[in-house]
């Protein structure tokens, strides 16, 4: 005979039942994606879900008998998620990053060295021989490769051919010509140029002015300072003095100039290949012209573009490497360029018929050899985040709030000297 449950027993049972879900929640995050058999988790940028890559993913799934879980994010959200993952130890198998994170996470121990795979397969896949040196350098730390470049982009000049033709103008090649053209094009509700509020768009100007952002040997920041001030002031003057550009608005969105250009309210913008597709889709009637980067003290531009890396705690780095090899194949690069106009890091890519015969892509491709990676030296200090925060504030104070460039730069330099010590 079983004794009936007492009230105390009932209370204990009820308490235990109530505690189960809560204690389960305390047990930790859901099982790691990497631990889930048959699932290969990739963090990817939302704008890079190309058909060419979908095809590679399908082949990868078939070859490795896994299902790829392609999680798409905007860069800030991807970073937030990734840092939370690093803290919890639950990491994806592969991460696409916007440039700069590979070295940052190599320094912090969160990225896995790929040197053993490069030693084994590099020659067969053409790495690093067929990759532009800047792309290998920015993905290496202490002589070891930690990431592989997926896209290599740069900024140059996009213009509305019809507007320039009507104004009797040739595409400008220097800052002086650029200002003169912008002044002539600014009329009837159309701006000569639209500048971006995003601080990364400052780099083409600074590199053209011959400015070195940071020299770890001398400790100098934004040197020569007079040239940096001139470059910053020139941009502010386009907005506030000459009024040939609208005042940009601070935002997480960097597509403002592209939207003005697509709406035919700006005749020129300085941007990269990521804006080609939106312009073609939203304004197919625009006669798009693409000119080489401007020249001042030197002809230069900013190297940008995304890479891939494998988190240090990723459970299946062999699979991750296989994914990297497949998606960086020259044929895949060729297909992605044909599909979207995106620029690629292989040297041999620049010689492809798709590149040489495409007027737009060719201009970008020809600019890549003199594209510079401006934040390389700062990245290696591990202080890139603080640097970018200060840079954003300085750039917007000058460009939007029209603060004196020399004073804003002095504040920036003082702050940077503090954390770069």
């Amino acid at each position: 005979m079983t004794s009936p449950l007492s009230r105390r027993d009932l209370l204990r049972l009820a308490g235990a039942a109530a505690a189960v879900p809560v204690l389960s929640a305390c047990a930790g995050a859901p099982p790691a994606q990497t631990a889930a058999p048959g699932t290969f988790t990739v963090y990817w940028n939302a704008g890079h879900d190309y058909q060419a890559y979908r095809k590679v993913i399908a082949e990868f799934e078939q070859a490795n008998k896994v299902k790829v879980n392609l999680q798409k994010y905007q860069w800030p959200d991807l970073r937030t998620r990734l840092l939370a993952d690093f803290a919890s130890g639950t990491v994806p198998d592969l991460v696409e990053e916007p440039g700069g994170w590979v070295q940052e996470f190599a320094i912090s121990g969160n990225a896995r060295s790929l040197q053993d795979y490069v030693d084994r397969d590099g020659a067969a896949m053409g790495f690093p021989a067929d990759w532009r040196p800047v792309t290998v350098e920015r993905n290496s730390y202490q002589g070891k490769v930690y990431g592989v470049q997926l896209h290599l982009t740069c900024n140059t000049l996009l213009y509305n051919k019809a507007m320039l033709r009507d104004a009797g103008l040739e595409p400008p090649t220097t800052w002086e010509e650029f200002l003169a053209a912008a002044q002539k094009l600014t009329k009837d509700g159309v701006y000569g140029v639209a500048l971006n509020q995003d601080y990364t768009y400052v780099w083409p100007w600074l590199t053209q002015a011959g400015v070195t952002p940071y020299d770890p040997k001398t400790g100098k920041i934004m040197d020569p300072v007079a040239d940096a001030v001139e470059a910053l002031r020139f941009q502010a003057d386009l907005v506030h003095k000459y009024k040939v550009a609208p005042v940009p608005v601070s935002s997480t969105d960097y597509s403002g100039p592209q939207k003005l250009f697509s709406a035919k309210r700006a005749a020129m913008i300085l941007t990269g290949p990521w804006d080609l597709d939106p312009i073609a889709k939203t304004s197919p009637d625009i006669e798009l012209g693409i000119a080489p980067p401007l020249k001042h003290k030197e002809q230069a531009t900013q190297a940008a573009g995304v890479s891939m890396f494998v988190p240090a705690k990723a459970a299946r780095p062999d699979l991750s490497w296989d994914f990297i090899k497949r998606i960086t194949d020259l044929k895949v690069e060729q297909a992605a360029t044909k599909e979207t106009g995106m620029l690629m890091p292989r040297v041999s890519w620049a010689d492809l018929p798709e590149v040489r015969s495409n007027e737009a892509i060719k201009v970008f491709a020809d600019a890549l050899p003199y594209a510079q990676d401006s934040s390389q030296q700062v990245r290696l200090t591990g202080q890139l985040g603080k640097w970018e925060e200060q840079l954003k504030v300085m750039y917007q104070q000058i460009l939007i709030q029209n603060e004196p460039a020399d004073a804003a730069l002095a504040k920036f330099t003082q702050a940077a000297e503090g954390f770069l010590k």
């Binding site: 809560v22 509020q197 935002s251 709030q401």
Partner: protein, 294 residues
């Protein structure tokens, strides 16, 4: 020999039952609030990208001396003042209008509540698109009507995000004030009318004093939400232009997820928590003194 149990009183039985029913909530709060808060406090005493090196109170000292932290705190206080004042004035004004026997007042109440029910992300994007000086709807309307165009996101960014916050939250404060207004016995107003008090005098002498508990609640909630505001800066202005809308929580978020200094960001979070608790206690104490009993 077994000890004889003391007979339980009715009160102790009630207490045990109450604790039993409170247990799930206590466990929930412990797991999802108190443990994380404890974790943040522990992290605030560490440094490094992995927050794994003991640093004692260094992060707190650094935060108190950091001009960027001070700046973001002042920006946040300014934002909170605007939101608190606006919530009370606009919420009360709308509640008094709605409290009148108007036709369609139920629909009006619902319309005013809709923004409150909408997420800050949607509200932020909506107003970002309306207010954009070049691509926004508002300037097109202003241009069509011959009025001067606005650049508020550049010329008055803090005021603008405070106004957007008010637009979103004022429906909620209106409902709270409406409940408060409807709880004031009509006899007080009738007696005052007989004594010859006009509408303005009745508002100052009867309505406002008797709404003190509601006003206290609204102000406490508005201060807390103002000091904790994040989405407005993140979505509408990205903290800019420059650092003009660098609200404290947005600043803390950037320290954590951009510069990867979790120890330092945790210390700033703890300091902000202390400020919020202090503000709340001061408000509650001041509010209780101001309460009126007729």
């Amino acid at each position: 020999m077994t000890a004889r149990r003391r007979p339980r009183t009715l009160a102790s039985r009630y207490a045990r039952t109450a604790y039993l029913f409170l247990t799930p909530a206590i466990l929930f709060f412990a797991a999802f609030f108190y443990l994380p808060i404890g974790n943040v406090v522990a992290t605030s005493l560490r440094t490094g990208p992995q927050a794994d090196q003991w640093s004692g109170l260094a992060n707190f000292g650094q935060a108190l001396a950091d001009p960027a932290v001070r700046h973001s705190f002042l920006v946040t206080v300014g934002f909170s003042v605007l939101v608190v004042a606006g919530s009370i004035v606009l919420g009360l004004a709308l509640a008094m209008v709605i409290d009148q026997p108007l036709r369609g007042r139920v629909a009006f109440r619902v319309l005013l509540l809709v923004p409150y029910l909408t997420s800050v992300a949607i509200v932020g994007l909506l107003w970002r698109n309306i207010l954009d000086p070049e691509l926004g709807v508002l300037n097109r309307v202003l241009a069509a009507t011959g009025l001067p165009q606005q650049q508020w996101l550049n010329t008055a960014p803090l005021l603008t995000i405070a106004a957007v916050t008010l637009w979103q939250s004022v429906g909620y404060t209106m409902v709270l004030f409406l409940a408060g207004l409807q709880g004031i016995p009509e006899t007080y107003h009738e007696a005052a009318k007989i004594d010859g008090a006009d509408g303005w005098r009745r508002f100052w002498r009867i309505t406002l004093p008797l709404l003190a508990p509601t006003t206290l609640f609204v102000s406490v909630m508005a201060v807390i939400s103002g000091l904790q505001a994040f989405g407005q800066a993140y979505i509408i202005t990205n903290g800019g232009p420059g650092d003009a809308t660098d609200l404290s929580v947005f600043h803390i978020f950037n320290v954590a997820f951009r510069t990867r200094d979790f120890g330092y960001s945790s210390a700033q979070s703890v300091l902000l928590l202390m400020v919020i608790v202090a503000f709340t206690l001061i408000q509650l104490r001041a509010g209780r003194r101001a309460e009126v009993v007729y």
